[in-house]
Amino acid sequence: MSSQIFPRNANALVWVSIIGLVLLIGSIVAALIGLYLSPWYTDVGVAKEQPVPFSHKHHVDQLKIDCRYCHATVERAAHAGFPSTDTCMSCHSQIWTNSPLLQPVRDSYRTGESVVWRRIYDLPDFVYFNHSIHVAKGIGCASCHGRIDQQNLTAKAQPLYMGWCLGCHRAPEENVRPKDEVFNMAYDPQSLPLAARVALVKEYQISTDGRLTNCYICHR
């Protein structure tokens, strides 16, 4: 019969192409989500090249230097305070004074020109993160920066996606710790029973009425 337009296998072809299309779109979406979460996009665990290969492991873990020695404004300003050349030189004018690795720091001290470091934690400009309030309310450095005291070269510990911020703003009791443990990198907030953490949230007056998840808490 010549009036038959579709060949016998047309039905199968239609189904195969429909399923194929769905699978194709699905896999493209999955691939994009995978890329979005991968270190290739988020830079998590990827150390950037810096003018000086500074090691937090050496300074924090081995020498036991307090975070605040260099990040001096972390308790009183939004910005933790990137150490100036002067801060580096307050030790390195005395030790490792001939190390070629520190030549950029010595040059900066002599000429007054900045050492241009590459930023690791870079929030979008529409996010107004404040270090001081988090430190004041018992959120430890390690909650966001991970075990930075174990990093030889600095890399992000978190992708800093909004959902991750909100997770803690919804349930601060998961990450709160006693204030005197804030700078203790090895402290695990979960080592405290939930009831004690809930009590800390109350004691530190961390609001639990949903205010912390309002847009204006982070966006202005």
Partner: protein, 197 residues
């Protein structure tokens, strides 16, 4: 037979733009990187290449700032202050302890013996805080040294605010007392603790 591939191709073509939508999402970064300065950003505008501006010389904070007060200079009428310009409280000493441990201990050691980790690693002679001269000097001396530095020690003025410098000075006094207290002045309980060690 010949119609089939053509039909499928046109069907595919009709929805082929859909995945492209996903690629278009989040292509704009002009809100991520707004034309404004954040701390420590480089700047092509200012000569020194820094977005952060140093305060104009001789500028002071707004409010009740008294540039000549003992609180801000460590000196009274040109002489090193001999007393704290604030009340001595347990909270002040605790504050001083955290500051001392963060900023001073790397060189001077947690106990003030001049045996901090930097002194040890660098093979540097760091003065201990327990010698006769330092135990008897006016307390304003510590404020002055933290503010202006001395010998090889840099100024810590940009890292330790004036109130905290006094807290450190008070804590240094406590450290000195801890090393030179008379055992006879201790209570019986404290004596027991001392001897038990």
């Amino acid at each position: 037979m010949p119609g089939t591939p053509k039909l499928n191709a046109s069907r595919l073509a009709r929805v082929a733009w859909l995945p492209l939508c996903l690629l278009l999402v989040a292509c704009h970064v002009d809100m991520y990187d707004q034309p404004k300065y954040a701390p420590n950003q480089p700047s092509a505008f200012f000569e020194d290449g820094r977005a952060m501006r140093p305060p104009v010389e001789n500028s002071v904070p707004i409010g009740s700032f008294q540039p000549d007060s003992a609180l801000n200079t460590g000196k009274l009428n040109g002489e090193l202050a001999t007393e704290l310009p604030m009340e001595l409280t347990a909270a002040l000493l605790e504050r001083g302890q955290t500051r001392y441990n963060a900023y001073c201990a790397p060189c001077h050691g947690l106990g003030g013996d001049g045996n901090g980790v930097i002194a040890y690693r660098g093979g540097i002679q760091v003065p201990g805080l327990h010698n006769e001269r330092l135990r008897t000097v006016a307390i304003g001396y510590y404020f002055d040294v933290i503010t202006n530095g001395i010998n090889r020690m840099y100024s810590y003025a940009n890292r330790i605010p004036p109130e905290d410098r006094w807290a450190v000075a008070a804590y240094v006094r406590a450290l000195q007392l801890s090393q030179y207290a008379d055992a006879n002045e201790l209570t019986a309980e404290e004596r027991q603790q001392l001897e038990g060690r």
